[in-house]
């Protein structure tokens, strides 16, 4: 019966290692995070407690709600902008491009920036959009404007551009995958049944690629929602996002319990968004 024992051991390892890891480094930390969020800030640090004061602060102090709403707005704008750029692109390379080689090349070209440092990709926009930055100095040099345009940097506009730039591959990937799965003959069948190209697009292509759109939207939304590098680099005082507030609670403000409560809120929001997107994906699922 040695082989039995052997197979059992390998099965235990295969299941055991990931489960152990999930428990130790995900469930346990989330538990501790939740615990901290009930603690009390007390000079000089904080003490264990069980009270909802931190959550009350978050939901009553308008300053926090404002940041939360702004973050949601920016995340939505980033996802929307990414979708508007990614969908036509993916549609073009999947349905209109004849050459398979070019399709791969263009797809890789959009994905490749993911491999290039995320920090640098945010940084380069600071150098482009800055008051003394490349765009402003170039515009002045060309005589288009005579004083630097402040609106470029330290604005929500700059944040949306930067975050779109950073996260657009996450929108392209699932949409591309979804479009690629749509059989070509559906297009032909639809044309055969008398639909125009535009009708076909909205009645056949878009509904069938919905899972990709939902997945892409979820990813870009969640990732930009939790970002704190871009706001730090290109967002001004009106560009602070939830993640920046959390960082400051763990840094200068030294209020870990409040920061933890904010992080819990963020975790719950992300989980809710993922669940909704799963639900949409499953309810609209078509076997292709």
């Amino acid at each position: 019966m040695r082989h039995r024992l052997f197979d059992k051991t390998s099965r235990t390892l295969i299941m055991g290692i990931p489960i152990l890891w999930i428990v130790l480094f995900m469930l346990l930390p989330y538990g501790v995070l939740l615990t901290y969020s009930f603690w009390l800030k007390k000079y000089p640090l904080f003490v264990p407690a069980f009270q909802f004061g931190n959550y009350v602060t978050l939901f009553t102090d308008p300053q926090y709600m404002q940041v939360l709403l702004r973050t949601l707005k920016i995340a939505a704008l980033v996802s929307g902008a990414s979708l508007l750029l990614a969908y036509p692109f993916a549609y073009f390379i999947v349905f209109r491009l004849q050459s398979a080689r070019w399709r791969t090349v263009l797809f890789m070209a959009v994905i490749a920036p993911l491999w290039v440092s995320y920090l640098l990709r945010a940084y380069v926009w600071k150098t482009i959009l800055g008051t003394e930055g490349i765009l402003n100095t170039a515009l002045i040099g060309l005589g288009i404007v005579d004083a630097p345009v402040d609106a470029f940097l330290y604005s929500q506009f700059a944040m949306v551009i930067t975050l779109t730039y950073i996260f657009i591959p996450f929108m392209v990937m699932p949409i591309y995958a979804a479009l690629e799965k749509i059989p070509r003959n559906l297009d032909e069948a639809s044309a055969d049944l008398g639909m125009s190209a535009i009708q076909t697009f909205f009645r056949v292509t878009v509904p069938l690629s919905m899972p990709g759109i939902v997945a892409g939207f979820t990813m870009t939304f969640c990732l930009s929602f939790g970002d704190f590098i871009a706001p730090f680099l290109v967002g001004g005082p009106d560009g602070l996002m939830v993640a920046n507030v959390i960082t400051s609670q763990f840094g200068s403000a030294l209020n870990w319990p409040l920061g933890s409560a904010l992080a819990v809120v963020m975790l719950i929001l992300v989980l809710a968004i993922i669940s909704v997107s799963d639900w949409i994906e499953q309810s609209g699922q078509v076997e292709l």
């Binding site: 290692i17 073009f92 209109r96 995320y118 482009i128 800055g130 930055g133 100095t137 979820t218 704190f228």
Partner: protein
């Protein structure tokens, strides 16, 4: 008759609208490529510009910023730390991710849906949540922060990336391979070693390369979990706090170069796979 007579002009019109549409698409794709790659070009060009400020027009060519880099010991130390962290995190995350992907693919067990959800969560979960929750845990259990805690954090954050990539490949390996192997007398471990592993090898290499790059580049988790030591992105980040200098562009250019080499490597790995199938 009528329909036949109608066809040529209609087809002509359809063809010309198609050309216009394709032309518009081409323009759009070029614009998107410009949006994606002009900033990277800007990053590189300004690393050779001999002015302290990043302003247009360019003033002149220099390699000074690169020379400065190589005499910057803090930076070189951060680079070393980053290489150490990324290597360890990659190995760790593969060691956990490969079994996890196999468990998702081959085994049925109660709670599988929750297991899967938890494993894949960090893909959409902002790194800051992982960073803070692990920081809290290390603090509460009295662990000091170090590069090792950063490694644990990275491995956790990158696990989802590895699992999705390897799981996707496993799904394409027919179940009958494993059955044929055990039918021919192999036990579970032999089947894994001789049959499963060779068929997912390229996916493992690809996932490993990607998690190496992502770990090398990681900030949100590192920000909370690092002790006294800095990783390269953390070093750059703190330099940026003091103001922007072309020195950062020089580092950036080298990182872009390294990334390009890694992309090339992964493309070669992928090509190897497509030739086989």
């Amino acid at each position: 008759m009528n329909a036949v007579a109608m066809t040529p002009p209609r087809a002509g019109k359809a063809r010309s609208t198609r050309w216009i549409a394709d032309g518009a698409f081409m323009t759009f794709v070029c614009a998107l490529m410009a949006f994606l790659y002009l900033p990277i070009a800007v990053l590189i060009v300004f690393s050779f510009n001999d002015s302290r400020t990043l302003t247009w027009p360019l003033s002149g060519f220099t390699l000074d910023w690169y020379v400065k880099l190589f005499s910057n010991t803090a930076l070189l130390e951060a680079l070393g730390n980053s290489l150490y962290v990324a290597s360890c995190a990659t190995v760790l995350t593969l060691m956990v991710g490969i079994p996890a992907a196999i468990a998702l693919d081959r085994h049925q067990f109660p709670g599988k849906a929750v297991f899967r959800r938890l494993l894949l969560l960090p893909i959409a979960l902002p790194g800051i949540v992982t960073g803070i929750s692990m920081l809290n845990m290390f603090r509460i259990f009295g662990f000091g922060l170090s590069l090792e805690t950063v490694i644990l954090g990275h491995a956790t954050a990158l696990l989802a990336v590895v699992v999705t990539q390897i799981f996707a490949r496993l799904q394409r390996v027919p179940k009958s391979y494993g059955e044929a192997s055990s039918d021919l007398g192999a036990n579970g471990l032999q089947t894994f070693w001789y049959v499963t592993l060779p068929n997912i090898k390229t996916a493992i290499i690809g996932a490993g390369l990607l998690s190496f790059v992502l770990s090398f580049d990681e900030i949100p988790v590192t920000f909370f979990l690092t002790g006294r030591d800095n990783t390269l992105p953390m070093y750059i980040y703190s330099t940026m706090r003091r103001g922007i200098t072309p020195e950062i562009n020089a580092i950036g250019t080298l990182i872009v170069l390294a990334s390009a080499l890694l992309i090339l490597a992964s493309v070669l790995v992928l090509r190897d796979r497509s030739q086989r199938s």
